[in-house]
């Protein structure tokens, strides 16, 4: 017998640091994780643990292999700190949901935040510092920067620090430290996708820049002026859940909110509106003023701020209706509804609209007493300082003039996202020191001579205070995957090196804790600071008692100025609206394949953007889907493909920002529209008198859905509240067909789902959640174009009615887990079978891929691995896989399983605890993610479960029920609440 080795050769050798060029390997990653198993909770940023690793001989008490851990954290996007709950398996973050304990988000988060798992494991991430083209050590890089900054200071030159919005108090302190060490440092915060006109309006009207909270949940009547509050505007997650709360009546007499949407492009909000009015964006301000006047004149609502009625004399509803080609009756009912819902109404104004429109909307809100009820400013904080596009133009001029001796980019990418990026990039070359602190290679890092890789937010500490009553904490879930550092630590290091303060705190976690101990830890708390801190880290959010601000009083001159500015205005030529993309935002998500492949909720385009043109304009220009046009606004011109968008207001075009990034996953797909953002004019995202001409070529769009008409099929019904009242009276028809199949006897459970399409806005958050939970591959634009997208859950969308203002129906479609599933009998090898708890199961390793099941599925929810789609997910992308779900090989069929892994887990836990499964305890990823709570999952065997009760709803139906498939999913009819008097005029 040979010698018995206790450990494999080399197992006791010290771990080599990752070689410079080589990405972290799975082995090294796992070994690090094993060595520091408990680090995820608190010790992630500490120095590396002992450099000898051995397998567990004594298992750490809080790590059970195979059992997931959940940690609360915070993800910042723009001005919003999303409270998130991150699922980790063996120390590896794999899924992001909302933080249940967060009072704003209540367990929900945005689809972009969910997809951030992909950016953690992105292959594009920077892995070590770089000087010029050469990899360097942190020591060299720091020395280079500090020396250069010292020279800048010595020469008395200025330096520029460009960051995104800073809503972290501790990060602010870090920046202040650096400014103290380098007095010439100018800090500019730049959020390319955020409009500042609302803030300008607030400054003019109220003299502050408060970020109010929109209480959509409290509003009975909502008016959205070019405001996609369910999509791209502000805190859409909170808005969606608030909106949905008033959209799912259990009986026709239950209250339901009414949403008027006045907009040029068909937005997610517009597609869910009760009354949608297509109108040019330039009409929004006159309309809002006219509404204010009509409220005063016709309904006796008093003007606030001591406003003289004379100021609004130039505005009249009929006049606006005529000038902007809108139905006057609809506007009248809008005003009537607003007046009737005083104190329970809310006018939302889109970020792209000019400040005047925001002033006018604020006036209407003030008239109706929205402030304090639907518009909360009590705990609002002053908006973080932000640069406008005009400010950025000034910065660019200064850079060109050689004002700055050094430019530091802190996780910002102005070389891509800036109105005149080209000019800026040219000028940038003249700055002696260009430093970029970045997560991944981007347009800006390519132009910098010092590139410093920073930690991902899932590897970082931080705190956020977007609202006075809430402090959010961010904690690392994993130690840095690569040789990266947290940006704050880098900056603190510079600050201390510049001031030669050797004892200054350079460890950001300690810095953060010290600051919290000093400033947040309330004096006289019985708990020690450590206990207080641990609790705060655990919860991820800390409520604070603050005295609400008193209501604001507006300055009447601001109203008069705004009214004067828009009084004589008429529509001018073709108007272009630019908005951040729902998925790409300002382009920062371009390298996330999940988001690139997520079809746009309304056009189903993936992997690119387009210019949305109304059907009548398209005819006039002579273009069809995919034809390229050149858009010229002022001196700037951009060429991109066209999409003929039903519902787009004639005379307007729309484009989404965030596409056309260089390199990476996106591969340069789409077109960068930042060149069309203006640094002059009343709103940077709104251009008038643009010209749109055929460019001659074509650039076919990749779409996940190509047919948008229901063809009169009763598959996605939409009822008005009146129709609901009528239909609810009729007894429900029994549409089940006789079957030759023996009735299936269910075991302990019969799983089912209820989907309220009235609550569902069709955003696609469920799709990202599903993709993350179920290891669904990204197949790329060519494969999507071939019809091979892999999503297990889809948001189908149907346009019916006139092309200029269609009625939009959203329909979630996923495996219906039919009791009489057509897929099951046709499989020759019995790879798809029924479980005793009512699931239609797919046995991957039995499947040989004849695809008959997919052919026979009337819902077409089955997805096939035409290629080996997962083999491309190599290190480190494979780390994002959920170990509980099989990664499917090439040649097998797959489909929604109702997240069977979660069901089995839930049932097992209940069994271990010797109790029945509680209703709502098991939630599939889609149901968990849905901000509108439109998806309810549960046991149909339990007659009192939520899903059973909803399945019996008097607006419940099953899709294609007449086929006799007996789906386990009950849909409830999408409801609309148009005003009675004018019928359904607004929407036809």
């Amino acid at each position: 017998m040979g010698e018995v080795h206790e450990f494999r050769q080399g197992a006791l050798d010290p771990i080599e640091p990752p070689s410079e060029a080589e990405p972290v390997s799975r082995r090294r990653f796992l070994s690090l994780m094993a060595a520091s198993a408990a680090l995820a909770a608190t010790s992630a940023c500490e120095s590396p643990p002992a450099d000898t690793i051995v397998p567990y001989t004594k298992k750490p008490t809080d790590v059970i292999p195979g059992v997931a851990d959940y940690y609360a954290s915070t993800y910042q996007e723009g001005l919003i700190p999303y409270g998130v709950l991150v699922k980790a398996r063996e120390g590896r973050p794999i899924h992001i949901d909302g933080n249940d304990e967060h009072p704003r988000f209540r367990g929900k988060t945005s689809l972009r935040a969910q997809a951030e798992i992909m950016s953690l494991y992105s292959a594009e991430r920077l892995r070590q510092p770089r000087l010029g083209d050469q990899p360097a050590s942190w020591k060299e890089a720091d020395a280079r920067v500090v020396d250069a900054l010292k020279q800048v200071a010595a020469r008395g030159e200025a330096a520029l620090l460009l960051t995104p919005a800073v809503i972290s108090p501790t990060r602010r302190a870090v920046i202040a430290d650096l400014q103290e060490a380098l007095p010439g440092l100018k800090h500019v915060a730049w959020e390319p996708a955020l409009g500042l006109t609302e803030r300008a309006a607030a400054e003019a009207l109220y003299g502050d820049a408060l970020v109010p909270r929109h209480r959509v949940d409290k509003a009975k009547v909502l008016v959205a002026l070019e405001a996609d509050f369910l999509g791209t505007m502000g805190n859409a997650v909170e808005a969606m859940s608030g909106f949905a709360r008033n959209r799912k009546p259990a009986k026709p007499t239950d209250p339901m909110s009414r949403l008027y949407c006045v907009e040029s492009r068909l937005s997610l909000t517009g597609s869910n509106a009760d009354v949608r009015v297509p109108m040019r964006p330039s009409g929004a301000a006159p309309l809002a003023f006219a509404v204010a006047r009509a409220l005063h004149d016709d309904h006796g609502v008093t003007y606030p701020f001591g406003l003289s009625p004379r100021v609004l004399h130039p505005f009249h509803l009929d006049d606006v209706a005529r000038r902007y080609n809108v139905d006057a009756g609809t506007l009248t009912s809008l005003v009537r509804d607003l007046a009737a819902a005083e104190g329970e109404s809310l006018v939302l104004c889109g970020p792209a609209l000019p400040a005047e429109a925001h002033v006018a909307a604020a006036l209407v809100n003030a008239m109706l007493g929205a402030e304090g009820s639907t518009l909360e400013t009590g705990v609002a904080v002053d908006g973080a300082p932000l640069a406008s596009p005009a400010d950025m133009a000034g910065v660019a001029r200064d850079v060109a003039a050689g004002v700055y001796g050094a430019v530091i980019f802190w996780e910002t990418n102005p070389s891509y996202a800036m109105p005149d990026a080209e000019g800026f990039n040219k000028a940038l070359g003249r700055v002696p020191l260009r430093v970029s602190l970045a997560l991944a290679e981007d347009e800006t890092t390519r132009r910098c001579d010092v590139v410093l890789p920073v930690n991902h937010w899932l590897e970082s500490w931080n705190d956020y205070d977007a609202s006075a009553d809430l402090l959010s904490l961010q904690q690392p879930l994993i130690r840095s995957l690569y040789d990266t550092r947290q940006a704050e630590e880098i900056v603190l290091g510079w600050a201390s090196a510049l001031t030669s303060a050797t004892e200054a705190e350079k460890d950001y976690r300690s810095y953060l804790m010290q600051r919290w101990e000093r400033e947040v830890y309330p004096a006289g708390t019985p708990a020690t600071f450590q206990q207080f801190w641990t609790a705060a880290v655990h919860d991820g959010v800390l409520g604070r008692d603050v005295r609400p601000r008193p209501p604001r009083n507006g300055r009447v001159e601001a109203v008069a100025d705004a009214a004067r500015a828009v009084a004589g205005e008429t529509a001018a030529g073709m108007e272009l609206l630019l908005e951040p993309d729902l998925k790409m935002w300002d382009g920062r998500y371009a390298n996330i394949g999940w988001l690139q492949e997520l079809p746009d909720p309304l056009t189903k385009v993936c992997w690119g953007n387009y210019l949305a043109v109304s059907p009548s304009d398209a005819k006039e220009i002579g273009v069809a889907d995919g034809d390229t046009v050149t858009v010229a606004a002022g001196s700037r011109r951009v060429t991109l493909p066209v999409l003929v968008q039903p519902g787009q207001a004639p005379g307007t075009v729309f484009g989404a920002l965030g596409y056309g990034r260089e390199g990476g996953v996106s591969g340069g797909r789409g077109t960068n529209l930042f060149p069309l953002v203006t640094d002059g004019g009343r709103s940077p995202f709104l251009r008038s008198s643009v010209s749109v001409v055929r460019a001659g070529g074509s650039q076919p769009l990749v779409r996940a859905q190509t047919e948008f008409s229901t063809h009169g099929r009763d598959i996605a019904p939409v009822w008005s509240l009146a129709e609901y009242a009528r239909n609810a009276k009729e007894p429900k028809k029994d549409r089940s067909l006789p079957t030759l199949n023996p009735n299936l006897e269910w075991g302990d459970h019969k799983w089912g789902m209820a989907i309220d399409l009235s609550a569902c806005v069709g955003c696609g958050a469920c799709q990202v959640a599903c993709q993350s939970e179920n290891n669904i591959p990204v197949v790329g634009p060519e494969e999507v174009d071939r019809g091979r997208i892999m999503h297990w859950i889809r948001t189908d969308v149907y346009y019916d009615g006139p092309a200029d203002n269609p009625r939009v129906a959203h329909s979630l479609m996923l495996c219906q887990q039919c009791d009489d599933a057509p897929c099951e009998p046709v499989c020759p090898v019995a790879a798809t079978v029924h479980s005793e708890d009512g699931l239609n199961e797919q046995v991957y390793n039995r499947c040989i891929g004849v695809r008959y099941c997919a052919a026979n599925c009337p819902y077409m929810v089955r997805r096939f691995n035409f290629f080996d789609y997962t083999s491309t997910l190599t290190d480190p992308l494979d780390l994002a896989f959920n170990p509980e779900v099989t990664v499917r090989p090439r040649g097998v069929m797959e489909k929604c399983t109702f997240c069977v892994q979660r069901i089995r887990n839930g049932v097992q836990i209940a069994k271990d605890e010797g109790r029945a499964v509680r209703d709502g305890e098991i939630r599939p990823a889609c149901a968990m993610a849905c901000p509108a709570e439109a998806i309810v999952f549960g046991d149909l065997k339990d007659p009192d479960s939520r899903v059973s009760r909803l399945s019996r709803s008097n607006r419940g139906y099953k899709v294609l029920e007449d086929l006799g498939t007996r789906p386990a999913i009950t849909y409830t009819v999408e409801l609309r609440n148009p005003p009675e008097a004018s019928g359904e005029k607004g929407r036809v």
Partner: protein, 485 residues
């Protein structure tokens, strides 16, 4: 039935005298039937001709054709190899059109493979003697078409290395197939039909192998044919058993010929896809299969009849009869199409109505329209007696029918799948070069096998044609068909 290995006595007179005696009575010309053999033939000449075809050096054109077809076959096989290596994504399939060219080709070749059985078996049972000269080659067409057809289900699956999972055999995994699935019925139907067709073909070949064994000069060939003739000596006892076996096997094959395409049609009919879910499918598929099979046989004979100097045995009358059958089947197809459309309309089912309108008026209207044109309209040319004997016309019509029947399967499979229940799932299907290469390859393999058959094997069932020759010698200028039946 009269069989002889030796020549019968001198031919009987063409005219017969009535029992009343007196003047000879001639039959009205309308009752007069052309003979099934013509020209200078004798039993020995036929044997020699068949021997020469398999022994003489083939003409240069044969080699050229063989190089082209085998290259095409190799391209197809290479494409299949590439497809298996890379994944079936190299083809145009997608969701919703999960089945594409490979299944179309499968149904197409199974259809072509119907001619042999129908001609040899059903016409045999109906005592249609004109089948004698063409049955052997028609059976070869069947066998080779099935060789092509059977390749497709095996390689079209996502994991082509596991097709044996489709067979119910005891295994250590304790897994069994799903007998409710039409695809399993398919496996049995196709495999059974293929094996019985091969047996029937081989059974017919035995006397001819024996004849060749006695006549070829090459010793190798003699040994090979000797082995393949299974000890046939042609004595009365052997003939007695042989005829019995042939008849029984013919009866068995008849049921299979009707069942195999019925079952293939159930792949579609028993699903719930609009356009597939139709009770008319089994008979309609069988007729369609016979139709394409006859057209395929016409095409083959139109070329080899003159090229291989078979005019004496495969006469214009044979071609005329084949073309009449094509015409008849075309009319039945037209009826089937009309009934299908009527059913869709009469059902008042939105989905069925849409899909049938979509066949002819949808975005791929050409597929449905050309199907109707090639299968129902073009063959109407054959009402003209002259056209039924004109090689260019019959080639045009048969080629049209072959293409039309392929398009019919394209229409049924692709156009039904691409727009089914939920419009949001509608998609398009774009075949790739791999799809076309595999289709080309199957044609190449089929023609290669056929070319080899034509020059290496007895292409005429001599023992059956000899009875025609005997008849011909008895009535050199034709006579009533029924006389010796």
């Amino acid at each position: 039935m009269y069989r002889a290995t030796e020549l019968p006595p001198a031919p009987a007179p063409a005219r017969r005298r009535t029992s009343r005696g007196g003047a000879p009575q001639t039959f009205p010309s309308s009752l007069r039937v052309e003979p099934l053999v013509q020209g200078d033939t004798s039993l020995g000449k036929l044997d020699d001709h068949v021997r020469d075809l398999s022994e003489a050096k083939p003409p240069r054109s044969w080699y050229v054709a063989l190089v082209i077809t085998s290259l095409a076959g190799l391209v197809g096989l290479a494409s299949v190899g590439f497809m298996i290596y890379e994944g079936i994504g190299t083809m145009g399939n997608n969701v919703p059109v999960v089945w594409g060219f490979l299944i179309i080709n499968f149904v197409f070749w199974v259809g072509i493979g119907h001619a042999g059985t129908l001609i040899s078996v059903i016409l045999y049972l109906f005592r249609q003697k004109w089948r004698n000269a063409i049955s052997r080659t028609a059976e070869a067409v069947t066998v080779f078409a099935f060789v092509c057809a059977m390749m497709f289900p095996a390689v079209h699956v996502g994991r082509p290395w596991l097709p044996h999972w489709l067979f119910p055999y005891p295994n250590e995994r304790g897994l069994w197939v799903n007998f409710r699935s039409p695809l399993i019925w398919d496996v049995f139907a196709v495999v059974t039909y293929f094996s019985v067709s091969v047996m029937f073909w081989y059974l017919g070949l035995i006397p001819d192998f024996a004849s060749l064994r006695s006549r070829v000069k090459s010793r190798v060939k003699r040994a090979v044919f000797g082995f393949m003739s299974l000890g046939w000596v042609g004595n009365a006892r052997q003939w007695l058993h042989y005829e019995k076996a042939y008849l029984l096997l013919a009866g068995l094959t008849t049921t299979l010929a009707l069942s195999v395409h019925s079952i293939v049609s159930m792949d579609f009919a028993s699903s719930m896809v609009p356009g597939w879910h139709m009770t008319i499918f089994p008979p309609y598929f069988v007729v369609g299969a016979a139709f394409s099979g006859f057209a395929g046989v016409v095409l083959v004979f139109a070329f080899i009849r003159t090229a291989m100097r078979l005019e004496n045995y495969i006469t214009e009358r044979h071609m005329d009869l084949l073309n009449k059958t094509v015409l008849f089947l075309s009319c039945v197809m037209a009826y089937a199409y009309l009934m299908e459309g009527f059913t869709a309309w009469f059902s008042s089912n939105t989905f069925d109505r849409y899909i049938f309108a979509n066949y002819v008026f949808g975005d791929q209207w050409w597929a449905g329209s050309l199907t109707i044109f090639f299968n129902c309209i073009l063959p109407q040319l054959l009402w003209v007696p002259r056209f039924r004997r004109s090689v260019p016309i019959m080639v045009l019509v048969s080629a049209g029918v072959t293409l039309g029947m392929w398009l019919e399967r394209y229409t049924i499979i692709v156009l039904s799948l691409h727009r089914d229940y939920l419009p949001a799932t509608w998609g398009t299907y774009l075949p790739t070069p791999i799809d076309f290469a595999i289709l080309l390859g199957s044609v190449g393999i089929f023609l290669t096998l056929l070319l080899l058959f034509l020059r290496k094997m007895p292409i005429i069932a001599t023992w059956e044609v000899k009875s025609d020759i005997a008849h011909h010698q008895a009535h050199p200028s034709g006579g009533l068909e029924a006389e010796h039946a």
